[in-house]
């Protein structure tokens, strides 16, 4: 080891290291010196390993650690890392020189106005308005979906497919499998290609730009105080914002949070109150014709998010999280990276949903043949009608059970048929937003949080969504806001 590294720590720590090194007999992959340092800092993994490998010498080691701890007021982790930091400073000063003053006043100013609440909140709202509402909601879910859905599928592909089927396929069961109301092509592939893909694509594009600019951590700082009230720290902004892309992906990213408590709260909130991009896009575009309806939906979902987050934070025991996050520099996003990233995410998403959507079409087809599908729809019917919705919506909820985005696409179809009033549309959109996490997300929840927690969360979400939908419908009826 070089000179620089052999004198980082003081004599007392060096002595303790030597003592422990002499006792250690097991075969460790890393050096005994590094391992001893981990033991002095009471690293859980290291302690477990020693307990296993050193037998009765374990107590001797613990003894050395305890003795050394007594020598310092502060915890050894702190002492050891301060020595390392000191050495890092000495070394840096000896090799690094600064030649000219910094010239990044613009990005510095930008940084300041982004994290100052007075200027930062309007900026955040502008980003949401243009990025989500205008680009994803109106352009992606509006213009692009209308084109693919209306001008391509409805006008050409569906009639063409149905025509071929009717003329050449004598068997009704095969015709129903491929075309008709629930066919693989006319429903499954249409939903995936014409409704979900454009929305998810536009979302990923906007999101990639936001990501690469370094804006997300600044947003995290901005909402840190708000998030503290619901038991999360600003760091949780990232999984939450990612959730607007795909809740499944976001549930996985929640593992970057520091405490198990935060991970559970964010998993719950992701399952309940964060719509995924396909849902969000469809809802934004459906409600954008009625600004009042859109506002009601936003207020309601935000309220549920904050209220449930607050309750969960009260119910779950644990310490208040500390906010600590690396602040990356603001950078001008590179178009090539934005495009490659959007493309790879779309590819990943499409590869995941297409087989599932086809599978769902087949399941529905099969369910129809053996008569289970109408029965399952029937299970939802009383609930759906209780929250003031026409019974046709039951089907959409069953779709939503498989995939959030599939359910959203189903809602899109219903609205096109014009059977929902504005109030019903808002209630349906809100309840569907809250309604069960999709199958993929549920599987991820089990993987990340364990089976029991995942089941509890899913059961709660299922029950809560209808209760909340009922309440919303009642409020809207009584106040007559959307009459």
């Amino acid at each position: 080891m070089s000179m620089q590294l052999s004198n980082i720590y003081d004599d007392k720590i060096e002595e303790a290291i030597e003592d422990i090194e002499n006792i250690l007999e097991g075969d460790y992959v890393i050096s005994k010196r590094a391992f001893s340092l981990l033991l002095l800092q009471e690293d859980e993994d290291a302690l477990e390993e020693v307990k296993e490998l050193e037998g009765k010498n374990y107590l001797k080691i613990i003894n050395i650690v305890e003795e050394t701890k007594k020598e310092y007021e502060k915890p050894l982790t702190f002492v050891i890392s301060s020595y390392r930091q000191k050495q890092a400073k000495i070394l840096t000063d000896s090799v690094m020189t600064k030649t000219k003053g910094k010239e990044k006043s613009f990005s510095e100013t930008l940084n300041r106005i982004m994290i100052n609440p007075i200027t930062g909140i309007p900026i955040a709202l502008l980003v949401l308005y243009f990025g989500l509402y205008k680009f994803v909601g109106q352009f992606g879910a509006g213009v692009v979906v209308d084109f693919l859905e209306g001008s391509i599928f409805e006008a050409h592909i569906n009639p063409w497919i149905n025509n071929i089927l009717n003329n050449h396929i004598p068997w009704e069961w095969l015709r129903a499998l491929i075309g008709g109301d629930y066919g693989i092509i006319t429903l499954g592939i249409r939903y995936a290609v014409a409704i979900v893909l454009p929305i998810v694509g536009t979302f990923f594009f906007v999101f990639s730009i936001i990501e690469d600019s370094g804006y997300l951590p600044r947003l995290a700082m901005l909402v840190d105080r708000l998030f503290k009230n619901i038991g999360l720290n600003g760091r949780a902004v990232i999984p939450m914002v990612l959730g607007f892309g795909c809740d499944t992906m976001a549930t996985m990213v929640s593992r970057t949070l520091e405490t198990e408590r935060e991970r559970i709260i964010s998993t719950l909130l992701l399952a309940l109150a964060i719509p995924c991009s396909a849902q969000l896009g469809v809802i934004l575009s459906l409600l954008s014709g009625e600004p009042k309806a859109l506002i009601v939906w936003i207020i309601f979902i935000s309220f549920v998010f904050l209220f449930i987050g607050y309750l969960a934070a009260k119910v779950l025991p644990g310490e208040e999280p500390l906010f600590y996050m690396e602040m990356p520099p603001l950078r001008l996003p590179k178009l090539s990276n934005v495009l490659v990233k959007t493309y790879t995410r779309m590819e990943w998403y499409f590869a995941e949903i297409l087989p599932l959507f086809i599978l769902i079409s087949i399941l529905i087809w099969f369910g129809n043949i053996i008569g289970v599908f109408p029965k399952l729809v029937g299970v939802f019917r009383p609930f759906v009608m209780a929250i003031g919705l026409p019974e046709e919506v039951s089907e959409v909820f069953l779709f939503g059970f498989f995939r959030r985005d599939y359910g959203a696409a189903g809602l899109f179809d219903l609205v096109k048929e014009g059977i929902l009033s504005t109030r019903q549309l808002v209630v349906a959109a809100a309840t569907l937003t809250l309604f069960v996490p999709c199958v993929a997300q549920f599987v991820m929840m089990i993987k990340e949080r364990g089976f029991k927690t995942a089941i509890y969360i899913a059961a709660f979400v299922l029950a809560f969504s209808f209760v909340a939908g009922y309440a919303l419908n009642w409020i809207l009826l009584v106040t007559g806001v959307l009459a």
């Binding site: 080891m1 070089s2 000179m3 620089q4 590294l5 980082i8 992959v29 890393i30 050096s31 590094a34 981990l38 690293d43 859980e44 993994d45 477990e48 390993e49 296993e52 982790t77 890392s81 390392r84 930091q85 050495q87 890092a88 400073k89 070394l91 840096t92 000896s94 090799v95 690094m96 020189t97 600064k98 030649t99 000219k100 003053g101 910094k102 010239e103 990044k104 990639s208 990501e211 690469d212 370094g214 997300l216 951590p217 990232i238 996985m252 990213v253 593992r255 970057t256 949070l257 996050m325 690396e326 990356p328 520099p329 950078r331 996003p333 990276n337 990233k341 790879t344 995410r345 990340e448």
Partner: protein
């Protein structure tokens, strides 16, 4: 996920040993604090694509790919960011366990050159552990723009390990890094 109990650690080790026997490829592992460009470098070395973003925590799982350096093929491993060996979050633990269990041929400690001082403590820990470390000063373009100059030879001498400067996002210095890794492996 309770992945830190000893039985699980042992299990992991077994899996790795089996993997080594089958694959036979030496490993190059990229480590470092979050958001220093490990994934960009991974993409360069493997000529593939994993998602990269400008915020910490994009990589939450280990990515593995293959890359040719000199006349040898290696398994290149990208890891979730880690601040210190004393881990707090789950994904930091993943990286630590990987480092301790997989016996890498080379560990590339990737750092943001602008923040040399803040990142050196992890370099110290890696060297202390006896791992074969090469320090990669990445994001050099931004450091230069800030007027920072780093005496790389002196840093190499003081640390006793190879130090290479790169700007992976612009593909600068990556070829030199490849050469240095190759040289390092052959000298060992």
């Amino acid at each position: 996920m309770k992945c830190c109990n000893p039985t699980e650690t042992l299990k992991n080790e077994n899996i790795v040993v089996e993997g080594e026997a089958k694959e036979g490829l030496e490993k190059i592992v990229l480590v470092g604090t979050p958001n220093v460009g490990k994934s960009v470098l991974f993409n360069r070395l493997t000529r593939s694509y994993v998602t990269v973003s400008n915020y910490p925590g994009t990589t939450v799982e280990v990515s593995r790919g293959k890359g040719v350096l000199g006349d040898r093929e290696y398994e290149i491993v990208d890891t979730p960011g880690m601040y210190s060996f004393m881990c707090i979050t789950e994904e930091e633990k993943v990286t630590k366990r990987l480092l301790f269990n997989e016996k890498p041929e080379v560990v590339l400690h990737v750092i943001d050159a602008k923040n040399l001082e803040r990142m050196l403590p992890l370099t110290f820990q890696l060297i202390e552990s006896g791992l074969p470390v090469i320090l990669v000063l990445n994001i050099m373009d931004e450091a230069k723009r800030l007027g920072l100059k780093i005496d790389i030879e002196k840093l190499e001498e003081q640390l006793g390990i190879p130090v290479v400067s790169t700007t992976a996002a612009l593909n600068k210095g990556v070829d030199i890094l490849r050469e240095r890794i190759d040289k390092y492996v052959n000298a060992a």
